[in-house]
Point group: D2
Amino acid sequence: MIKVGIVGGTGYTGVELLRLLSAHPDAELTAITSRKEDGLPVADMFPSLRGHVDLAFSAPDKVDLKQCDVVFFATPHGVAMAQAPELLAAGVKVIDLAADFRLKDQAVFEKWYKIPHTAPELIEQAVYGLPELNRDAIKGARLIANPGCYPTTMQLGFYPLLKAGLIDATHLIADAKSGVSGAGRKAEIGTLFSESSDNFKAYGVSGHRHTPETSAQLQRFTDQKVGLTFTPHLVPMIRGMHATLYARLTKDVSNDDLQALFENQYKDDEFVDVMPFGSHPETRSTRGANMLRLALHRPEGGDTIVILVVQDNLVKGAAGQAVQCMNLMFGLPEGQGLKHIALLP
Amino acid sequence: MIKVGIVGGTGYTGVELLRLLSAHPDAELTAITSRKEDGLPVADMFPSLRGHVDLAFSAPDKVDLKQCDVVFFATPHGVAMAQAPELLAAGVKVIDLAADFRLKDQAVFEKWYKIPHTAPELIEQAVYGLPELNRDAIKGARLIANPGCYPTTMQLGFYPLLKAGLIDATHLIADAKSGVSGAGRKAEIGTLFSESSDNFKAYGVSGHRHTPETSAQLQRFTDQKVGLTFTPHLVPMIRGMHATLYARLTKDVSNDDLQALFENQYKDDEFVDVMPFGSHPETRSTRGANMLRLALHRPEGGDTIVILVVQDNLVKGAAGQAVQCMNLMFGLPEGQGLKHIALLP
Amino acid sequence: MIKVGIVGGTGYTGVELLRLLSAHPDAELTAITSRKEDGLPVADMFPSLRGHVDLAFSAPDKVDLKQCDVVFFATPHGVAMAQAPELLAAGVKVIDLAADFRLKDQAVFEKWYKIPHTAPELIEQAVYGLPELNRDAIKGARLIANPGCYPTTMQLGFYPLLKAGLIDATHLIADAKSGVSGAGRKAEIGTLFSESSDNFKAYGVSGHRHTPETSAQLQRFTDQKVGLTFTPHLVPMIRGMHATLYARLTKDVSNDDLQALFENQYKDDEFVDVMPFGSHPETRSTRGANMLRLALHRPEGGDTIVILVVQDNLVKGAAGQAVQCMNLMFGLPEGQGLKHIALLP
Amino acid sequence: MIKVGIVGGTGYTGVELLRLLSAHPDAELTAITSRKEDGLPVADMFPSLRGHVDLAFSAPDKVDLKQCDVVFFATPHGVAMAQAPELLAAGVKVIDLAADFRLKDQAVFEKWYKIPHTAPELIEQAVYGLPELNRDAIKGARLIANPGCYPTTMQLGFYPLLKAGLIDATHLIADAKSGVSGAGRKAEIGTLFSESSDNFKAYGVSGHRHTPETSAQLQRFTDQKVGLTFTPHLVPMIRGMHATLYARLTKDVSNDDLQALFENQYKDDEFVDVMPFGSHPETRSTRGANMLRLALHRPEGGDTIVILVVQDNLVKGAAGQAVQCMNLMFGLPEGQGLKHIALLP
């Protein structure tokens, strides 16, 4: 059994890790820390876990996370970089669900996250935890930077086209929509029910942290200079993410060839579902499941290709992807403990 | 492996059965019928099942359900009574999720459901499928009448008090609230998003079919004449049911004794969670899980006791309870394939 | 024109007052105070008001509210009692939408609100602002205690029966459900979208501040000792309140007589709509409107009467009722500026 | 008083017309027809109208619409073209909220709507009812083709840029999102609460009727060949529409100049609100109001301009715009009866 520690288990990615790991056949929840909730049984905060999780939160100084085999950080940005060095030195593997190690360029990180990076020596060895594009590196990793939820959808949607050199990479558009849980479990007015229900809006249109992360990753797959316009929106639903991606085709290619390109790319990826050409994937078809579904469209046969991508932002977009990485790091079947069927309706 | 057939798999209880049974270690989905959708892959209607269910719907005349070990009816009222006799005669066990066999009094059935009963000879042998109150009978049953969702909450909430003779049974009040999925997957104006979202209303207040079902079952446990006022309401949520039960205490009893009464009653029932006295259970703590949670209140220490009961109407209130019955009928552990943790948030 | 001041306009009752008063033909918005938002144009916080309200928030020390004819307090409990004495002394009328003056018994106030009352000398002269039960007193009032949203529904629902002596007043039950806006515009985890959407729960079941307020008011109309069990619930909708009231009839009375009793009681009240016997009022039929609708039921003809009551908690349950009081206090037609039709769908 | 008739008042645009017109100071509701609901009081179907609308639905053959001054068609496509000729001949003005007269090219109409056009002789005289772009023609019109909800957002968003020749018109992208009421009040599974709540999806991506309507209108303002990729999505909210528009700038222009261009264009349009550069308009800021708000963005200062546009699809996107046209046609102030403030929260 893999001994698992979780730092910061009081947020939505934290409770989702608990849901997945407490039912994982090879994982044993060993410790979960929270500075504020020391002593509180986890199931008192999240009654959905009554009968499934017996652990209580511990103050960070009361547990020795170095006894764990792997530690997940479901924390705000900045926490993992502070604690990772000591854990890694002790031989503990680290999976960070925040942004601390997502960007290879330290200056770009510090510009967008507005905090100094305190463990720059680890940036290089950190592996970007997107299994479908990075599987081999993840298998050998000690430190995982779990991708952001938006970047996962954008990369898996654009990747086959970029790699095949079929699109103009300089003017990519990603119009993305997220459920409210993406904003986290924080007391804020903007995400109150009465503010975000029966409402729709964009946010961060002039600049969002997920743009540089995505651009840097996409740049690995093309010689063109990647230019990405990314527009996030807030949808009145709890879970779910939908990215509508637009690119201009630069070569003459049939719809059948486009479809085949995607099907071949992802044929061995059990958590990417290439739906039939012209489908309209729904976010709820992934609710609670570690699954990303996508479909291609070619409106009126023109030179614009539209890729529709959906996932559950808390699963394939966060906690599920992190467990997928853990499985790879520990030599388990990639899908171990991740076979949940989406909850529909 | 238990060979399973499903009649009428296009509704919400149908797709929920598919979710549970396709992941059940001892069940094998063998046939699923739909008159209208013959030939359509189930996963085309419910994309959440892509990769998990390969079956297609079959017209009823194209499959021999008598090859199954058990057949679930997730159909409108009246279908099971038409097909059950032949299946039972062939040795197939039958679990009806509709109302055909819930009422022992044929006249009462015909009054409330406004159709003649076509298999009255089976009414007597049908077993009411509420495991917590009827476990032994279910183990030996060939024909199960799966309880309605509302009746499950009312019975498990009132039962310990009735049995102990602590309340006035003649004036029970059940103010119950259901998510919209309880109305089924039918094209109707009243349950359109634009009609039932951001709205709340009662319905059927002057009389509802679940009143006679519940009254008849509760009557088994008391010598008083049961009088029940049941008021259902529609909540703008997909899944979830909350019953707020009121009864007048007729004996002097402490809160500790009341709590102990419930805890003792349900201590061996893995799918009933008696929460601490004064708790406020939330429906989402059962979302997608086969679990009923309840808590007791005694406002201002008076003689009125309030019991709060929650469940997922499609799981413990329908498909999950049906699988729980199947497990008992086939000698499996009662919780086999039913350990899902609720999806929160 | 009535010069109007608003203290504390950043909450939901505040913005609702602004919506109603900015379109009121006899009111002129003169000042709106907020300690935190000094200088911010109101329409920057609430873009729905762009083009309708030009005022900016002012720090309390920068405006002289004594220049107003009336001041509304849309503040937390405790603010009105601190400022009302000076305003009243200057001849300004005061309408408090919080609880400071709702309870005539100072000790009960201090027990439930856990703050000392700093203006006990005003309690006696404060008039409870429920026009349908208190119209004449309101006309002559200088200080209005605007009722809570729940108490409005309970009082207007029970009142005709109590006054006519038809029910057992010692065991009234009010099972009430509120939209989330009733919790106010405060940064709290419990009312985040991801916590309260797709969910239903009760709260405060063992004791809620609106119980003593309602009991005390109802006691005015009966010689029996009023006993009230009040159970509030949170509904995943923004606006709307539904009370399901239960009482036991103590006299033999026909449904027609019951219906006539209510129709006669409210025939001159333009903001109370007695619907046909057996109707199911929906909250959305009052969304945005100063209207309370109710309907009577007598399940299976028994001795339990069920009264269904709906309103918009922010309008007839708060800001609309306050403006209705203002109209009465200033000799205007009671419905002036309050004729909005509910927004449906 | 303008005598108003409504054909087909049982849908969402119908009830919205009733809400607006029953409170309009210069309009008198004279007749409302429905084949199925003959004799039913309108307020029985829509209880929000109780006390405001006394009319009952009439079968079409029981009323003489030729006695009206203006008749609104809130009907499915095809009805207005059948009845308009007779009404126009009798001197009645006609405003069609459906698509019958939106497309000047009969063949294009018949291709997209799949019905033959039965009044082609009226197509030429029909005036496209978008006041901000067509005010003078509307003033003199006898027959109005009220624009679709999506086309209104796209045209008002792209128009200033097209007219100024600042963008590449051949590759416009409109990623649009609509509340569920846009699908109408029809009994269909796809828009049930349990299907469309807590969910997000695109639809009609490969081709939608609003594309040719919008393209044809936009073509009027540019010599370039308009190429439009339009992607509609369904948002789990009742009312509201958000269009996220993308275009590539072909000239060097500052953000200030872009902002000034829009502000100048719409400075005399009381129902178009150009918000400060970089704002994020929310749909709820227009809920129930005849208002379209928009804001400009220039992500990272590149050559892609993003225009965010919001409106209430039932008001500025349908019924409100129709009343705005009526006001113009009858020489009334354009905003008569249309000053409602949006309902927030």
